[in-house]
Amino acid sequence: MIEYFSSLEFLILSAKMIAILGSVMGALAYTTLVERRIMAFVQMRPGPNRVGPYGLLQPIADGLKFLFKEQTVPGNANVLLYYAAPIVSMIPALLSFAVIPFGPELLIADINVSLLLIFAITSLGVYGIVLGGWSSNSKYPLMGAMRASAQMLSYELSLTLSVVGVLLISNTLSLANLVQGQQGTWFGIIPKWNIFLQPVAFLVYLLSGIAETNRLPFDFAESEQELVAGWHTEYSGMKFAMFFLAEYANMVTVSALATIMFLGGWNGPMFGPSWLQMILPTVWFLLKIAAFLFVYMLVRATIPRIRYDQLMRFGWKVLLPLALANILVTSFFVAVL
């Protein structure tokens, strides 16, 4: 055991972990800034642009503010669960980055069921919301938590089922193999991405992904016009920041999964000298994720929230049958061809 901890393999693994975790945390902080700026541009206002050039130091200022805020605990709250809930939602959100391949070499663990592992980890994320809402001992958080648990349970079904079509085509559950299966082009121009084979699945995945991460127009756990701030009404300071970061980490995870499964992962045009070819896959991957996140932000800025019963009806009566029909059609074609 001691030999292992001093081996080169272990050192490389630790370096990868630190690099990925550090860059993810930094990127998450700046995603918040980018989102606020984009929302502002859509709504014709300047957005946060005072702290540093173009507001680039805003995340740091926010972080400092979160750190120095007074820690409040609501009366009669369940203190243990109240403090545990942000951690419970933060850990699964960051854990899924362990199996996401950022490039051909840049992944921490390549296991043969990594796709299912991500679904398993993200399915635990709901407990952070539920416990945070329940332990605050206040009515709006409780309502937010109950909405969140029902909503995330319902949309997880269509999220998981939308993926099955892709799995039928690519015959693997490993994310790295999924990406490798999408190399090459049809007729020399159209890239061999699964989105062209599975457009319905992509649509279902996109919509249920938005619902899974509690974003507008499906943000019923938070819905500030009805429930103050939903499940994190009673949270402030660093605890709120952890919930906030967990939400963005989940967004990035969903985007990364969509990129890997539907948009070809790190595949893209390769050119230039060898050092450029080393980093190009990662650049393509990050660009695709950024494009996906941009769609998320545009959706948030443009589409109003629907009603809660409409949300449940949409999930169970539209998305779920659509995902099932997609599986049927896909398996028919896979069996025939």
Binding site: M1, N112, V113, L124, V126, Y127, M146, L153
Partner: protein
């Protein structure tokens, strides 16, 4: 290394199982059970049953236990009220008897050994799927019937005017 991991997961599993029993509020019990389930998944991974480990977390911790927590929050239960002591002496009697049963069962399995010549098995999705859709096709189809019946039963029971 493997032994160390086994002891860690076994300790978590046993501790959380005991915690399920001693907690007075069912929400704590269910949270403790979630911990038990994740420890169980860790044990499955130690036995090369990766697919089951992941499915265990997705189905149990991610769906069934969310349902439990949802119902507990929906009913907004108070702490378990202290019941009349009809059961106090039953508990005093039951716990030693349970421990005795545990002792007997453990003594039975103490010396069991697996066949040494058995082939190495890896619980990959391919292996499980191949077996599920050939040898166990009929039971697999029947489970869908079971789920349908459970679905209808749940709808009927949860109706307002029972």
């Amino acid at each position: 290394m493997m032994e160390l991991l086994f002891f860690v997961f076994a300790a978590i599993a046993l501790g959380s199982a005991i915690n399920v029993l001693v907690q007075r509020h069912v929400l704590y019990s269910s949270l403790s059970l979630i911990l038990l389930l994740t420890a169980m998944s860790g044990l499955f991974v130690l036995m090369q049953a990766e697919f089951l480990a992941v499915i265990n977390v997705i189905v149990y911790a991610g769906a069934i236990m969310v349902l439990f927590v949802f119902v507990i929050m929906l009913l907004n239960l108070p702490q378990d009220e202290d019941e009349e002591d009809r059961l106090r002496w039953l508990k005093l009697l039951g716990i030693p008897m349970g421990l005795f049963l545990m002792f007997m069962v453990i003594r039975t399995v103490w010396n069991v050994e697996g066949s040494a010549a058995a082939p190495q098995l890896s619980g990959t999705p391919q292996a499980i799927g191949a077996s599920l859709f050939t040898d166990y096709l009929l039971p697999f189809e029947l489970t869908s019937l079971l789920i349908l019946i459970a679905l209808m039963g749940a709808v009927v029971f949860a109706k307002k005017d029972l």
